[in-house]
Point group: C2
Chain length 230, copies 2
Amino acid sequence: MAVSIWLRPERTGRGPSPAFDRGRIAAAGVALADADGLAAVTMRAVADSLGAAPASLYRYVATRDELLELMVDQVNGEVSYDGLGAGDWLEDLLALAREARERYRAHPWLLDGIEAKIPLGPRATDFLEHALAACAAASVEPETAIEAVAVMLALVGALTRAELGRRAIGLTDSERRQAKSEYAAQIVKAGDHPHVAAALASRATGKATDPDAQFDRVVTRVLIGLLGGR
Amino acid sequence: MAVSIWLRPERTGRGPSPAFDRGRIAAAGVALADADGLAAVTMRAVADSLGAAPASLYRYVATRDELLELMVDQVNGEVSYDGLGAGDWLEDLLALAREARERYRAHPWLLDGIEAKIPLGPRATDFLEHALAACAAASVEPETAIEAVAVMLALVGALTRAELGRRAIGLTDSERRQAKSEYAAQIVKAGDHPHVAAALASRATGKATDPDAQFDRVVTRVLIGLLGGR
DNA sequence: GGCTACTGCGAACGACGATCGCAGTTGTGG
DNA sequence: CCACAACTGCGATCGTCGTTCGCAGTAGCC
C-alpha cells in the first residue's frame, strides 16, 4: 500500500474505461505546484483542472500523499542521462548534479522537503542507478558510493535553495530589507554576532559570484573529498 | 510581521497579566512534535496541553507558521557551544556538526524540511556566529565560510536522516521488508538496476558500520575539501 | 440478459487554521 | 474614588481541507 507507486491493481476489463490515468493526474498536480506552490495542490484544485469532481480522484490515488509521490516521480522522469559514461566518473557525477539542480529550478516545490518523506520511486531509482554506475568507475565500495550520492543530492538541494534565494544561509531578501529598521539589525550591529555582520557586509559589497561556477566548484570539491581521486 | 521572532509589542501594563508566554507555548509545541510528529502540532492540541482554549493562542502567536518558527528557535537554544575555540577550526566545526546532529536526533521533526522555509531565528544566528568564527580561524573569505556552513548543515541533515532510517538513500525499512514480495524486488532483480541491486545486497551482507565514525569521517572530508587544510 | 465488477460523483463528515466580538480584569488619570 | 482605556481569555463560527459513503450508470462475462 505504501509502495503503490510501483504497482496498481490491473484492470479486469469490466466496467467503463477510466476517464484519466495516474500520469495525467500527476501532471496536473505538477502544473499547479509549478504555478502556485505546493499548497495549491489540493484535491479539489487538481480535480477542477482536470474537469472532474473531487471525489473522482480517489479512484486513481489513495491519498494526497500518494499524489505527491506520483508528482515527484513524474518530475524525476524529466532527468536526462545522455552523454554519460563517456568521460571519467567525476564528469558523470557533475553532470548528474547539474541535472538534479535543473530539476529543482524547474520545480522549486521539491525544495519544500517532500522528497525526504517520500519513498524512493522508480524514476529516482533510475537516477540512483546512473549515479552508482559513475561511482563504480571510481572503484569505491558500494557503501561509500551510496553515501556520496546522498551527500551530493543534499548538497545540490542546499545550493539551489541558496541560489533561488528562498532561504539564503544569511537572511531572506525581504527580511534583509526589513532588518535594517528592525531588531535584527540591532542584534547584528550590537556586536553579539561580529562574524555574521562581517559576512553580511561582505556579501553586500562583494561582486556577484557566478552561481554556475560556484556550483561546479563546490560539488567537485565535495565529491573528490568523498571519493578520492585527482 | 514576518520577523516577529525577534520582537513583540511591549506590554503597557494595563489589563490582566498574560496566563502564558511564547516560550511556554513553543515548549508545548516541541513536546507534541517530539511525541507524535509535526502533524500533531495543531493549535487545538497545543492549547489543550496548556489548558487553554484554541483561540487564546492567537494572543501570543500570529499564525501556526509563527509557532513553528518559535519551536525551531526553541530547540536551537539547546545547542551547547562549550569547549569551542580551543582546538583548531576543524575540530570546532566538527563539534558544531555533532551538536547539530544531536538536535536532529532529539527532534526528528526538524528533518521534515521546516527549517528550509523558516527565516533565520536568533538562536540560529548564534549557531551561525560560532560556525563562522571557526571558519575565520581557517583564514578563508566570508563567502566561502558561509558556503561551507550551509553545506555542512545540509550534510548533517542528510546523514542524520539516513541514520534514523526515516529515508535511507536505498529504501525505507518497512519498504525493504515489503519489497521482497513486491514489484520493487522484481525491478531490482530484473537487471534494470544492477548497481542499485548490488548496493542493497552489500548493505544487507555488510557488517554494520559505526554511524558515529562514518559521520565524523564524511563531515571531516567535506569540510577539508571545502576549506582546504591538512 | 442478468450478474458482476467496475466507473464517476453528489453529499456529507470531521478536523483544521483563523476571525470576531463579548465579558471580565487591571492599571491609570481626573 | 471611580470611570475610562487597554488589555485579557475565549465561545461561537466561518471557510477550506482530506477523505468516506453510497448511489446511479456502464461495460464485459457466463
